[in-house]
Every structure is written in structure tokens, then in C-alpha cells.
Symmetry: T
């Protein structure tokens, strides 16, 4: 465990419904191509506005995953 | 589109019910006087505590809007 | 009021259910030993991933409380 | 109280006499046009030098005020 | 001079042609409504891409101007 | 000396009279329970405003003190 | 649109001729392998000096692009 | 596991011999009074110089530990 | 040389033995799939603690490498 | 004026009496060897504590001065 | 090469004509007294405004140069 | 002691052998021309890579030293 090596990538997820769903959408897309995701860190939270309301949230994450040997 | 100019202002929204509602309250108040709001960026999330519980959330946003010509 | 002194401590709360519940869990634990909590500031939002889904959210807070005289 | 919305603006105050007076000058000017100022945050402290001495201090503040409904 | 008070606002300028023109477009729009602009500070430089090329630059500035007495 | 271990805590002091007195009030309260305080670092300076004037300054400090063996 | 997921990568472009050309060189290289690039953010601007003159500019960008479903 | 609450404290360790030993000295002192330490984060690395050589290293850590229920 | 383009990736290396070995383990793993690595930048140093001692160091690096034409 | 070149140096001033005097002491010492100082920027404010009181303030400044042609 | 020692200094260059010329003016002045300049890093970009137009750009650089043995 | 004035300079040390030796090389070179060095602060740790291995470490320090009266 103590010698694992991880890679961190930066992904932006969106959702019309909220902050947490934007994170989940980012992870849902990332898991199609990345195995062994371990943690995420939120680095930026923003959103787009249409007619004075939130059209969609947009959350930037760093995702850490184990590199296979 | 490529020559739009935007202004960004900083607004703090509050809500006893949660993070997202604090953002929505900020936008709801801002739209009374600002037309053409395009995006927001969350810059600070905090809250006030009463008797050990969250009394209200307080979220600081930057809001970007198009300046009319 | 103007001469109050506050202490700020740093607490990390977790929850499998979401961002806000992680904050509430941090405060719920802190109130067992701290009186007079007044505000919190979110300083870091992250989470752990299991099988491509969020296993739990983990939110770091600074909590400010009044020091009794 | 819990649903107040605030606006934050950035003002730079100057004074030949010191740091605190520069803050007071900023607030004194701001109150001519802004009602309901609630708090300020110092974001930058600098000064101009003439003949090896401080000619004037210059302090940048963010000022938060309640938006009327 | 030593007791001037300034306000700083945040403006985003765009240009299809380059970084400096985006700054100039921001100032050109701002001067329609603001007198006595004194300085600007670049806080963010970004751009939008279309078909692998820069469609337009987008530069965020803080602009400082003297408040009239 | 070379193997001392220190702890740093975060304290917020207030004063209606000024920046330096807010720091002194923080230290005055902290010394009731902490021995061997060695240094402080100012991390945030703000204040509350009442009727357009500074009601009280509020200064956040980190205080370092030697841990007894 | 509201549920798009983006990836952000970090690329460093160089040019002997200037800041903007360094950005364009970065994008020109990136587009050989990345489709659907949408925006970039400049995170660092530096350069190498030879005989007292700029030998080449070196600009670090984050590039955001849409992940295909 | 998912509902653990942690506290983070800030400790400064010193050593005449090197960076890693300064970290170990900080942890060695902290474990006298803290159970269940889980992780540390280095936030500042500095040192004191005597006669042109490093007299001792001084490393600031945040240490996270589980709060017992 | 002046028109090279580089990519930067973020890798986390671990080691039970120390800071430098954690960096070396990160590079050792990265070189299995990346050619032409040129430099690294340490962005975060942390570690995990077991029974009051460092179980393993964990160092986050950005690694820059030349993109082949 | 528009083609002036400035150098910025970093100086730490101390005073037992207060924040502003620490700045003045830094400038007083700097003017012995530097001509044409124009401005300063406060980058760090700290102090040393003796017997629970401020022994001396210590303020870090950047000082900008015109380079003679 | 591997044991070179560099010094970094901070210089502010100005130009009425643009961002890149301000950098070049800083380097042009610095080379009068510094040999072996190797690289620069832009740390701040700002400008002064006259009558609504850019009077001059002002760019702050760190310049690294080899110290002779 | 309380009225000492210090200057801080920025030096980059290199070493093929490790982080600590890079710091020592920086100090060893600096002491040839600077008397009364008191402390250092590590601000950046990086390294150059050759054939997948660390060719040399490169550590940026700020060094504080007393200015003689």
C-alpha cells in the first residue's frame, strides 16, 4: 500500500439539478475509461445562468486513481 | 460574440436551508436590478451556527453579466 | 460585543449522503465538547470513491467559537 | 436575517497619517452613497514614499452591505 | 492627492485578435460610464477555441478609478 | 533549542479602538490558558461597521507556543 | 449542453516571437490528438533569456475539451 | 468509516539534522497527548542559520486525527 | 528548442522510507509509459501515520515532458 | 515616465511600539543605501511575544524604487 | 550544471506600447548590471490609464541569473 | 533586537544528490557575499529529469539576513 503511485486528472462535470449531481456526472463519465478511482477534490464551483436562474452547475474536480503496475 | 464585455460583481446569498438555496437567493435578488447575467463563480462558503446547528448558510458569488453597448 | 475573543479550530466531517450532511456531522461532533460555536468556513471539499461512485464526502471546516472570559 | 443578500465592493482609501485612517477615509467616502454597510475586509496594504518617508498609506478594502429588498 | 479614494471594479474584455486588444476593448467599454480611470490589473487570461484555433481571447481586469468628492 | 516543538492556534481578537488593540486583546485572552507563547502571525484583518463607522476591528492571528516536554 | 463533461489538461507552449504565438503553438500541437477543445486558461508566463534578450517565451495553459460520450 | 470526524492541528517540529527528522520530532511530541493520528500535511519548510550553516530545520505540519465518539 | 511543446501531468508517489524516495517512486512508475520527461515540481507533501509514526510519505508532483512532433 | 524600470526588494522592519513604526524603521534603514524609493507593499505582519505581551512587531515589505538609467 | 546556484530578483518594466515591450524594457535595463540572466517569470501585469486609454503597461518579472563561483 | 531590520533575497540551489544538499549548496554560495544570514524559507522544490531519473534537485529559498547599521 505504502508504495502505490496515483495519477490525478482534472474533470469538469455539469448538471442542471445541483452541485452534487455535477460531481456525480463527472465521476460517471470518468469511470467509463478509468479504473481504480480513489478520491476527488473539488477545485472550482461555478454555474451558468439563463433568464436569471441557474441553467446548470459546473464543478471542477481533481480525481486520483491508482496506476496499475 | 467575440467582442462582448462583461462586468463581474460580488454578492453574498444566505439561506437557512442549504448551500444551493443560498446561491439561488443571491441570484434571485441580483436579477431585480441586473439584466443579462451569464455565469457565477463560488468564492467562499460559510455559515452561522446557533445552538450547535447551522442557522444559515452564507455563500459568496461572483456574478458575470453582459454590458449592453 | 466589540471585545469578544474567538478561537478557530479545523474539523473534517464525513458523510456518505452529501456535502451538507458532512458539514452537519462535523458540527454535531464538535458541539459535544465546544460551547458557543458561532460560524464555520468551508476550506476544502473532497470525497472518497468506491467502484466509481462516491463512497463518502469529506469536508474540512474552520469553526469559530467565543472564548468564555 | 438568514435570507439577507449582501453586495461586496472594493474601495481603496488613502491617508498621510496611517493605516487606520486610510481605512476610515475609505469608509467615510463610501457612506456618502451606500447605506447599510456591515463589514469590511482588508485585502491589500501599501503606501507611497517621498524622500524616504511614507507620503501616504493606501489600503484596499472589500466592504459588504445589505441590499434592500 | 494623499487622501484620494478609489473604487475598483472587475471587467472582462474579449477580442478575436489578441490579449492586448481584449484589454483595450474592456477599457473602451468602461470609459463610456466611468470617469477618472487610473489603473488596471490583469487577474485572469483565458480564451475560447473553435476548430483548434483561438476564437477569442478573454481577459479579466480590475480597473481603479478616483471617486469624485 | 534546535529540537523544540511548537503548536500554532488560531485566535480572533476584537477592539473598538484599532488594529493593534485587537491583536493585544487576542493575546491577553490567550495568555490566561497558554504558557510560553512565542510569536504571532496576522492572517486576516476585518471589521464591523455601524452607522458608517468602524464599530470594532477584528483581527485573526496564528499564535505559536512551545510545547512543554 | 447542461450535462457535458470536460477534461482539462496542462500544456506548455513556446515561441521565440511572443506570448500569443506561444499560446498558439501549444494549441496547434494539442489539436493533433485532441478533438473538441473549447477553452484555455493561462496559468504561468515565463521565458528564457540568452545574451540579455528573450530567447523564447514559455506559456503554461490549461485546455478544456468535451469528452465524447 | 464514512462518518468519521477528524480534527486537524498545526505543529512545528525542529531538528538540527534534516527535514524528515523535523517531521518525526513533531509527530513524536504530538503522540504524547493525541491518540489516533492519521495523516499529516507539510505546510511550511524553513530553517535557522548560524555561521552560514543550517542550525536547525523547522517544518510546520497539519496533523489529522480521529475524534473518538 | 524554442518551439517545443510540453505536457504536464500530476502524479502522487509514496514511500515508507522518505520524501525523496516517494519522488523517485513516482518517476519510476511514470517512466514506464512516458518518454522524454524533463522536469518535476513538488506541489504537495503529506504522509500517513500509523501508531504515532510515519507509515508512508506521499508526495504530489507535476511532471513535464516533451510532446513528440 | 512610461518607460521607467523599477526594482523591488524585500525588507523586514521591527519595532517594539507598533505596526506602523515597524514599517517606518524598515524604510529608514533602506533609505541609507537606496535612492528613489517610490512605494511599498506589506506582505506579512507578525510579532514576537514575551511574557504574554508583544515584544516587537515584525513587518515584511516589498519596496519599489526607480533604477537610474 | 547540476550544482549551479541562481539568484532571483524582481524588476518592473514599463512601456506605452504593450505587454511584451514592457518585459523587454525590464530585461534591457537589467542587463546593464547583471550578467548571465537565464529566465524570467511574469508575476503581475497592470497598466496606467490616461483619458480612458492605456498610458503605459507595467509588468513585474522575476529574473533568474547564475551566480558566478 | 526589537529594532533589527532584515533583508530577504531569493536564491535557487541545485544538487544531484537530494533536497537538503540543494538547500546547503544555496547557503554555501550565499555566505560568500552575505554576512549575518539568519533564516531561510523554502518556496519551491523542483528537479530536472534525465533518462527517467532525477538529474538534479532545484530548491528555491528566501534567505533573511540582518542589515548592519
Amino acid at each position: 500500500m505504502a508504495e502505490h503511485v496515483y495519477k490525478k486528472i482534472e474533470i469538469v462535470g455539469s448538471s442542471p439539478n445541483g452541485f452534487e449531481e455535477a460531481v456525480q456526472n463527472a465521476l460517471g463519465r470518468a469511470k467509463k475509461t478509468i479504473r481504480n478511482m480513489r478520491w476527488f477534490e473539488v477545485s472550482e464551483t461555478r454555474g451558468y445562468i439563463d433568464d436569471g436562474k441557474i441553467a446548470h452547475w459546473q464543478v471542477t474536480l481533481k480525481i486520483g486513481f491508482t496506476l496499475d503496475d
